[in-house]
């Protein structure tokens, strides 16, 4: 029998993490796509670095920057009464870090692919930036943005390294599905792990399929 509590925790954590990644990542993507400013490359490198850094390196940075003896960690603790590490907040932070690069990178490419002539025409007709953003840019780029969100979701759902290092692996509170699978396997409870393994595999494949067929259809598919 599979215990699904870790799976539901993972789903909650992933959605929270993705929501934050979108709230932070989408404005960043707009900024990176539409504006040239000093430090633009550096900003993009920083945002997308989690894609290429080893999870242990990321976990180390997170522990050092938001751990209980860090300035941010202490500030958070004085504000909320609880630490970031060893809590669901820590899991959500790990999920956000995992999802952010996909959200930013894919959204940025989609935003850059929107014909700038449309934006200029709308501006000439007197539409302000917020209106152009809501009625032209975001709707036209929506497939790429949603595709990035889906990939970010899949990546965040599967986060292991950072979560292991910062969340304390507490069953029912911070033990996400990938960590539960690891513990089940090490303790010889393969049967318990199998349900979770299948669920995560299924979700991963579903997301990729959706991204390929719907969010980023090949030119031949688009006609139909």
């Amino acid at each position: 029998m599979t215990d699904w509590s870790a799976f539901w925790l993972s789903i909650q954590v992933t959605f929270c993490g993705l929501a934050i990644a979108v709230a932070v990542g989408l404005p960043l993507a707009v900024l990176l796509a539409l504006h040239r400013f000093p430090g633009r490359n550096l900003l993009e490198v920083l945002v997308t670095a989690p894609l290429v850094l080893p999870p242990t390196v990321l976990g180390y940075y997170v522990l050092v920057s938001v751990g209980r003896s860090s300035a941010i960690g202490r500030f958070w603790e004085s504000l909320t009464g609880g630490p970031i590490v060893f809590s669901m907040t820590g899991c959500v932070l790990a999920a956000t870090i995992a999802a952010l690069p996909f959200v930013v990178k894919n959204s940025r490419s989609a935003l850059e692919a929107v014909d700038p002539g449309l934006m200029e025409a709308a501006a000439n007709l007197g539409a302000g930036f917020p209106r152009r953003l809501w009625t032209i840019l975001l709707p036209l780029a929506r497939r790429g943005i949603i595709g990035g969100c889906m990939l970010g979701f899949a990546k965040a759902l599967g986060d292991f390294g950072v979560t292991l290092m910062v969340a304390g692996n507490i069953p029912g509170r911070t033990q996400t599905a990938p960590l539960a699978i690891y513990d089940h396997l090490l303790s010889g409870r393969d049967a318990q792990a199998q349900g979770l393994v299948l669920a995560l595999t299924g979700l991963g494949i579903l997301v990729l399929w959706l991204v390929n067929t719907w969010a980023n259809p090949r030119p031949t598919d688009r006609r139909s």
């Binding site: 209980r68 630490p83 304390g168 692996n169 507490i170 396997l185 090490l186 303790s187």
Partner: protein
């Protein structure tokens, strides 16, 4: 006995056991429970061949050996994992040897502002917000820690404060970095960890942590592997193990290790 002489005797034993192996460049690969990290750094010099040590939680390493990981020796933190390997045909029965009994300690940072606990009951104090132990499901030192707290009647009240390290070494790191206020870890790690205070936990509170080493059936060099096991059991090996707080078969714990040497 003088430590230098112990070392010489140990090396001699290795040479006698391994014969011409001095020429072999292929390293022995030892999978060791993470409580053995500091001790292994010294033990490996008892052997004429280069030695590669792979550290991890006993459960993880046992799992890998069952999948034919290329380890020659397995130093488990608990007898049951080594026994399972032998039973399932991955460990050589007559090579299994009890190399020491582990002890657990309550470890706190020396730099922590609040006073260190003096008894396990002190852990109930509010200042210990997060208590780190190794994952009791597959790390023997975590099992012992949980058992001790259960037998003392503290577990139910402390469980909400528990956080779990993947292995006993990561557990110590959680407290060293100040993220957990206290950790229950192996004495062998506390001895080697700078900047901390420890307090020994009564071993009547938990089942003995009998550490058993076994040669794997896939060991590429059985003669050298057995020679290393003999070196660990030699007087030189025992000196090292004793210094790291392992209780050796037929001995009592080195009494200087009951608590941090400089603790008040």
């Amino acid at each position: 006995m003088h430590p230098c002489r112990d070392l010489l005797v140990g090396m001699l034993l290795c040479v006698l056991h391994s014969g011409s192996l001095l020429n072999t460049a292929e390293p022995l690969i030892i999978a060791a429970a993470s409580d053995l990290g500091p001790a292994m750094d010294e033990l490996k010099w008892l052997h004429p061949q280069p030695i590669t040590v792979v550290l991890g939680s006993t459960g993880l390493l046992a799992r890998q050996i069952a999948q034919v990981a290329p380890f020659d020796l397995f130093f488990a933190a608990n007898r049951s994992f080594a026994d399972d390997l032998v039973r399932n045909g991955h460990g050589v029965a007559d090579s299994a040897v009890l190399y020491g009994r582990g002890r657990i300690v309550v470890w706190t940072r020396a730099a922590a502002p609040a006073p260190a606990p003096v008894t396990l009951t002190d852990l109930l104090a509010d200042r210990f917000v997060h208590i780190a132990i190794a994952n009791p499901e597959h790390a023997p030192y975590g099992q012992a820690a949980k058992e001790a707290l259960q037998n003392g009647g503290w577990w139910d009240r402390l469980e909400p404060r528990m956080v779990y390290g993947e292995n006993v070494s990561q557990t110590l790191q959680l407290a060293q970095s100040g993220n957990a206020d206290v950790a229950i870890v192996a004495l062998s790690l506390a001895v080697a960890a700078p900047g901390g205070r420890w307090m020994l936990i009564d071993d009547a509170l938990h089942a003995p942590i009998d550490q058993v080493a076994v040669m794997t059936t896939q060991a590429r060099d059985p003669i050298a592997s057995r020679a290393f096991l003999a070196a660990v059991a030699s007087p030189a090996g025992r000196t090292i193990m004793r210094r790291y707080g392992f209780v050796l078969p037929g001995e009592a714990l080195d009494s200087t290790l009951l608590r941090t040497p400089d603790a008040p």
